[in-house]
């Protein structure tokens, strides 16, 4: 990867430019201390936005004409599916940053993003199945989106399994970063091919897109929920990453000082 980093270094951050913050990000200690300050505010924001969206969506949004109240699971299903996919890119980008700039912290972010993403993908499939029963009369359909979500779950599981298969952290990091990048190249191909496969075999009975446009009264709480889930995702990612930092840096002086308490004060 050295040729890549040389090529990138021509037009990406270097020491002399205004990219100090980028290099500071490479320090797990800096991130740990700083994220500790951000975390309460982020958690508060996530809690408030999620509570607003949930109450608005579940209690005040109008009932769907055809699906009745069962459509309300959309307020969980759609944000979770959004983040399941976005989480893969966050994981892959963190892995790429680690491979290119050899940044310890970004590997920790990548490792933390994998289980969160896998759980979100599972939740997306699960809420979809729960929604499918009253709407389509069946829990599972071999539909293009459902199938690609299932493949996404497999991709996540592969990265997770590879990460834990290595004894040394470093090899596990780099290997799963490469796998995540290979997966990133493949995701659009997989999505397109599954889409194409579905249109070829399309069963006539089921229509996924029930209404092309949503009523604003239903749509606004959905936007709030998506925003709330993004905040929640960041909180979860920070918590996982902080735990990982402590685990990997447990031999360093600053972690010992932090955990055992400063003797001076």
């Amino acid at each position: 990867m050295s040729w890549l980093s040389k090529w990138l270094s021509k037009w990406l951050p270097n020491e002399s430019s205004n990219w100090q913050w980028f290099y500071r990000l490479g320090s797990p200690r800096w991130f740990y201390l700083r994220s500790g300050q951000w975390l309460p505010w982020l958690s508060l924001a996530a809690l408030l936005v999620l509570a607003t969206g949930l109450v608005w969506g579940l209690a005040f949004a109008p009932e769907d004409a055809k699906q009745g109240n069962s459509f309300r699971i959309i307020y969980l299903h759609v944000p979770v599916s959004f983040l399941a996919l976005a989480g893969y890119y966050i994981m892959a980008i963190a892995g790429a940053v680690g491979l290119i700039w050899k940044m310890k912290l970004s590997y920790m972010v990548m490792k933390s993003a994998a289980p969160i993403g896998a759980v979100l993908t599972f939740l997306a499939l699960f809420t979809g199945a729960v929604w499918g029963k009253p709407t389509w009369g069946t829990y599972w359909v071999w539909d293009a989106r459902i199938t690609s979500m299932l493949i996404l779950l497999f991709l996540y599981l592969g990265v997770l399994a590879l990460q834990y298969a290595f004894h040394s952290n470093e090899a596990g990091n780099k290997a799963s970063a490469i796998l995540a990048l290979v997966g990133t190249v493949n995701i659009p191909i997989i999505y397109k091919s599954v889409d194409w496969w579905y249109t070829l075999h399309q069963p006539a009975t089921i229509k996924l897109t029930s209404a092309p446009s949503m009523h604003p009264d239903m749509f606004q709480p959905l936007l709030v929920m998506i925003l709330g889930f993004y905040c929640f995702y960041v909180v979860a990612l920070f918590l996982f990453t902080r735990a990982e930092i402590l685990r990997r840096e447990r031999k360093t002086a600053w972690v010992k000082e932090l955990v055992l308490g400063e003797p001076q004060s």
């Binding site: 493949i151 490469i178 290979v182 997989i190 599954v194």
Partner: protein, 231 residues
């Protein structure tokens, strides 16, 4: 391509191709096992599903493709592992040539000893599973291209898991999702021919997948080997 530099670059490809083919020739029994597996599993299909020709011909194309995928998956595990165990993989890593070229040579040898025999045997299985007549040529063409994709993508997985003791199972977990587009377009090629449609478009997409994996997979496998083989 007659300049000394070009010849030197080529030698990395041909030397490893020749070496792996020679090794395969010395161990002919091992080379035959994916093909034998391929034929044996096809016996399970009439036993497990139905021996009726009318029903078999519906699933024949998909089943042959799935079996070819599994046979490739079984054999791709050994692509780097025996070299890793006897130390010749390290020799490959320190050669002056660009690493992707020896890898491409090895993958080509792998395809010549697995994908090509599977492709050549497939009409026989088509006959046994009563594949309609229109499907034979598309089956051969799609398998020839598709198994090459499978070998290339499998090489990335094999490179990632080469140093792990139980790498084989993990390898299939890693690689299986990446195989989905290949199997979709592979079976689509055969099925559209059987249905009397134009089967060249899905075959062309398979060719595009092959071109992309020839360009990218050796690079990814090289990066992966540098990480895993040193541990």
């Amino acid at each position: 391509m007659s300049s000394p530099a070009a010849r030197k670059i080529n030698s990395g490809f041909t030397a490893w191709l020749r070496r792996d083919l020679l090794l395969a020739y010395r161990r002919r029994g091992e080379v035959a096992s994916p093909v034998v597996f391929f034929i044996m599993v096809s016996t399970l299909i009439p036993l497990g599903l139905t021996p009726e020709a009318a029903q078999l011909e519906k699933v024949a194309a998909g089943m042959i493709w799935i079996m070819a995928l599994l046979a490739t998956l079984l054999s791709v595990d050994g692509l780097f592992s025996s070299d890793y165990q006897d130390g010749s993989l390290e020799q490959m890593l320190i050669t002056p040539q660009l690493l992707p070229l020896p890898i491409l040579g090895k993958v080509t040898a792998h395809w010549l000893t697995t994908g090509l025999p599977l492709t050549l045997v497939s009409p026989l299985l088509g006959l046994m599973l009563s594949l309609p007549d229109a499907g034979y040529l598309p089956l051969i063409c799609s398998l020839a291209l598709g198994t090459a994709c499978l070998s290339l993508v499998g090489a990335v997985g094999a490179a990632l898991t080469v140093s792990l003791r139980k790498g084989g199972l993990l390898l299939s977990l890693l690689v299986m999702p990446l195989y989905m587009p290949v199997i979709i377009f592979g079976t689509a090629t055969v099925n559209s021919a059987v249905d009397g449609l134009n089967w060249l478009p899905p075959l062309a997409i398979l060719g595009a997948l092959f071109a992309a994996s020839v360009a990218l997979c050796p690079l990814a496998a090289a990066g992966a080997l540098r990480v895993t083989a040193s541990n």
